[in-house]
Amino acid sequence: MVAATRGLDRGRTDQAEVDAAFRHDLARWVEVQRAAGLDFYSDGLLRWQDIFRPLVEAIGPKPHTLVRWFDTNTFFREPEFANFPSGDSNSPSPSGGWQGGGETSVPRPRVSTFPSPYMFSRAARTNLDRNRLMVELAESVLRPAIDAAVREGSELIHLEEPWLGYTGISRQDWAPLRDALEALHRNVGATLALHVYFGDAAPHLEQLRALPIDAIGVDLIETDVTALGRGWDKGLVAGVINGRQSLVESTNSIVEVAGHLADSVRPTALYLTSNSELSFLPTSVAEHKVQRLGEAASKVKQLVSV
């Protein structure tokens, strides 16, 4: 896809070749997940140029300004909102499906990834009230996309939330965040997880545990396991694979920390994943890490019962 999309941009190939490359790479990605024995299948957001792009383009003009994605060498096009998105008839459908790229080939059960409404509202360029925007984005943009994803077999909805981890959140923003997540959680028919990464989740855990979500994701590269507390009434999405380092974790190191989390935190469900998206790694490294994640998860399942 890298070569095909580059060729398309430069007028050296056509959309058919890009689509074929996409189908090939998606099939490979599915096979990597299958071979690793993962419990949920992702489409890898292979067609998404950034975490906001298809959602934003489905409801308005193409975004323009490039902005650095936190402390990475990756950039996103800043969503722009001159008006609130409510009432827009062009609500987006599920993760990339409207782009006609063959995502139907992704097995079930699926995990679908979307931006958290808090991050979405903070990363946008707007003069609007960001808390009201957050709730409206949840109701008018994210919820229709999530519903469509659930209809297509997603059983786990994974909301990316690096903004909270990296930048933090003001006390008065928690209530509208709760309202926004409630709009996503109500009768959704899938597990809703909010994954805080690129920062220490520990200072926010008390508030996070009170949110209307089924699971909390933490970045264990940045968060101390001892700060997670005990006896959770929610699931824990544990970021045990480092999505920003090319050295591949050992199976035993993952098993040991997972065992520790199961014994000490005692979440209602324990999900093992990477601390952030894997798009900061070359594909071969990412595939290797997924394989290792699957091996470790298999061992953990044999060893512990959560």
């Binding site: 890298v2 490039l66 402390d71 060498n73 396991v225 520790h260 594909t283």
Partner: protein, 391 residues
């Protein structure tokens, strides 16, 4: 000691890369050239009045190319890019990095201690290759000497050599020399401290053992202006001091004019750290990406340029290489828009001699047609500004 070259007010220059023509890419990769490729070489050769360009066409009609012929085609590509920039009216030029693979890959390919790992997305459909450092870092061979020597022999305008900086090379690499974060049950704070210490050591090793000797080699060949490219400089906001230390370690005591290029960042982050960067005589910074496309010279009309006041206040009074072309879109800035951006900057600085005019960054993601039109309008806009300022 970094030299200050004597330049005219509102000096214009390109920042670094240009796209590589299809004929250059395919010939080097050993792929067959199409009639379209040959026509591209012909039409640009004619438009830019590249001396003897029919010789290139003759060369490209060959079915396969020897190593020496590939090197010759790369030199042609350099000559075309140089002529494109000169033809657009730039005061200071280079070759759009036509002989390099890419700004990061070219450097690590000529360094000891690195291994390639693969490509990672930068934005949209643009990717960059990443390597991992796995051993001691050193310069395998000076890696800009050949292109610079060639360009000296053919350039009509002044040359400025773009060189990827130490911080960016380190930031875009993985460090596999130390296995950190192996036991996530250990204190996160302790692991973070270990990462930061390893990072500092890595960045400064790149500066001292790779960048500095390469700069010395260029200066030995007569390079007078070297631009240290640091698009990664503000990636980690708590490492701006490390970025400055790496720049100083790279250039301290060397006899040339040094500038640096920064882009696509919150530039407020650079202050006050760059107050210690007195060896830097010019900051080439991208602003157009953040600016309005409307005309005007008021603060409200120029939202992308509000931060330039901070550059004005730097105690060692460097020039500002002000980005006026958004390199991420095919939108062609009008001369009037360029003029107004320039006039606004001169008004803020109160000194046209400290304002240089540039694109936001290298234009390699744009076609040559778009790049040429943008650069041409940039120099036309600067002429309008000169007239308005009676320069």
């Amino acid at each position: 000691m970094s030299t200050q070259l004597d330049h005219k007010p509102l000096l214009t220059h390109e920042v670094g890369s240009l796209d590589k023509p299809g004929w250059r890419v395919k010939a080097y990769a050993g792929k067959p050239l199409s009639e379209r490729d040959l026509e591209e070489a012909r039409s640009w050769g004619e438009q830019l009045q590249v001396p003897d360009y029919p010789r290139l066409l003759e060369l490209l009609r060959g079915r396969s190319f020897t190593k020496e012929q590939k090197a010759e085609i790369q030199r042609w590509s350099s000559l075309y890019a140089l002529r494109l920039e000169e033809s657009a009216g730039l005061d200071v030029v280079y070759d759009g990095e036509q002989q390099r693979t890419e700004m990061y890959d070219w450097a690590v390919t000529h360094a000891n201690g690195f291994e390639r790992r693969g490509s990672v997305r930068a934005f949209d459909n643009k990717y960059y290759s990443k390597a991992a450092v796995v051993g001691p870092i050193s310069l395998a061979a000076p890696y800009h000497n050949a292109e610079f020597s060639y360009l000296v022999s053919v350039a009509g305008a002044e040359l400025k050599v773009p060189v990827t900086g130490a911080y960016t090379i380190a930031d875009w690499s993985f460090d596999e020399r130390n296995a950190l974060d192996t036991d996530l049950r250990e204190s996160a704070l302790d692991r973070r401290r270990q990462r930061k210490a390893a990072r500092r050591d890595f960045v400064l090793q790149v500066a001292r053992n790779l960048i500095r000797p390469n700069l010395q080699a260029l200066i030995g060949l007569g390079a007078r202006w070297i631009q240290v490219d640091e698009p990664g400089a503000s990636t980690e906001p708590d490492e701006l001091d490390l970025f400055v230390d790496s720049f100083n370690a790279s250039v301290e005591g060397l006899d040339a004019m040094f500038s640096t290029h920064l882009c696509f960042s919150d530039y407020n982050l650079f202050f006050p750290a760059i107050e210690r960067m007195s060896q830097c005589r010019q900051f080439a910074v991208g602003f157009a990406n953040y600016d309005s496309r409307e005309l005007g010279t008021s603060d409200d009309a120029r939202p992308g340029y509000q931060v330039i006041k901070k550059f004005r206040e730097l105690p060692y009074k460097p020039a500002l290489g002000m980005g006026v072309l958004d390199i991420h879109t095919d939108f062609i800035e009008s001369p009037e828009l360029v003029r107004d951006r320039v006039l606004y900057a001169v008004k803020v600085f109160g000194d046209a001699a400290r304002i240089h005019v540039t694109p936001d960054c290298g234009l390699r993601t744009r076609s040559w047609r778009v790049a040429y039109e943008k650069l041409h309008n940039m120099t036309a806009g600067v002429e309008l500004a000169r007239r308005a300022l009676s320069l």
